[in-house]
Symmetry: C2
Subunit: 259 residues, 2 copies
């Protein structure tokens, strides 16, 4: 049998349909499938074009997030099984709320904060990345603190893009670590501080990718830097997350929701 094609269909970017679809399909471990995202399907003509592609790709399944019920109905032309989030939930949710759903194509999809706020936050994260412009720490919602290569930069950018949080990040240098207390520039914003730490073994691995066989990357140095950093963070009561086995998304969610 030909390999299954799974179409992720959306009237917007397709990111939510992809997320829902991949999680559902990951429950079927033996299943191999070809994923194919078709975004911006917001007219009957685009559904017709989609239907031709689906019929040519059989066997196929459609996972979709189409807000307009007329467009959803037209999906039946594809002649493949359809799993649509709005089809499944709009009516029962309307019954619970005692309200009628209105079609609102792409009105809200994906990220949770206003667009302008998120872009501002990204620009902020880049401007204060890696300890740059410490005079702007006062503007930050959060300040990520940790040793070099503890994963602060991707987390601060993700906090900005996904959550609209202005996250600065400040690397604890060997000089900072020798001082046995967090730098005054950080202590002035103590309630905004969030520590990131990780296992010395993982840190050494990451640093070795950058500067192989350096003192900087040695396990001994990583161990002593992390011990000093964790000590300083704990002494100042800074909530600290161990990032060793966690993804950027997980770390960001823990920071935002206090997990």
């Amino acid at each position: 049998m030909q390999k299954l094609t799974v179409f992720f269909v959306s009237d917007h970017t397709g990111v939510t349909a992809e997320a829902v679809g991949h999680s559902l399909l990951s429950q079927f471990r033996e299943l191999e499938y070809r994923p194919l995202t078709v975004p911006f399907v917001d007219t009957p003509e685009k559904v017709e074009a989609l239907a031709a592609r689906v019929r040519a790709a059989m066997p196929a399944v459609i996972v979709s997030t189409l807000t307009d019920p007329r467009i959803r109905l037209k999906l039946r032309d594809c002649e493949a099984p359809v799993f649509d989030v709005f089809d499944a939930f709009s009516e029962p949710l309307g019954a619970v709320l005692d309200m009628a759903p209105t079609a609102s194509s792409g009105q809200f999809h994906g990220m949770g904060n206003s667009y302008h706020v998120r872009i501002e936050a990204v620009n902020f994260a880049l401007a204060v990345d890696d300890g740059l412009n410490p005079d702007r720490l006062g503007e930050a919602d959060l300040i990520l603190v940790g040793v070099s290569r503890a994963g602060k930069t991707p987390v601060s950018i993700y906090l900005a893009l996904q959550y609209g949080k202005k996250a600065a990040n400040y690397p604890l240098t060997p000089e900072d670590l020798g001082a046995h207390t967090l730098p005054p520039v950080l202590l002035a914003h103590r309630e905004k501080l969030r520590g990131l730490t990780l296992s010395p073994e993982r840190l050494a691995q990451i640093r070795n990718e950058r500067l192989p066989n350096s003192r900087y990357a040695s396990l001994e140095n990583c161990r002593s830097e992390i011990q000093a950093a964790e000590g300083m963070l704990a002494a100042s009561g800074v909530p600290t997350i161990d990032t060793t086995r966690r993804s950027v998304e997980e770390i960001a969610a823990m920071i935002v929701h206090g997990g």
Copy 2:
């Protein structure tokens, strides 16, 4: 009546539950609700703690993405209506595939590419941002080209984080624009180039936020830069997107899916 609380519940970050929930709820325009995300709900004990919070917050509704059916079943203790993506789709999808779903908590949620690839791509995007390190353009999957402040940086970072694409970005300087053809360093990678453009009015607005009342931000200068840039991109056959009314996510989806 007290305002409705909507709990977004997940055994992972909650980002997918938030996206699904907010889109569903945006169909009910008059509805005001208090959103509350509870991530990492992956044990019966955590459901019990959640149930106490839900009962204290009534009236409440739960939108969830819980992969483990035992945990989902325990959600009933919350005594609020539950709309769960796996509850709705796992069985019917299994019937279509003729396979039984297995519980796989947080196995795949959210973003579509392997973690390491995405983090590498973010580091790459930062290293080559704004025309830095042009010798590394050969490593790029894509090179975003446009005038200063056309929105290249957030798009390249989003392409990296969401899609694992190594996206460089190259700003066309006034000198480049005077040459009437794209710089040789870009033409060497013509098939990777993607143009970003926008309306002169919007560009002037963005630049005025940065450098108010400058020649750089003047409508006249923006108009002439954009005209020159669009001409050069078109002459070299570079697919170009008008970003004026589009979000970073939309632009990225169009680039990735060729929309």
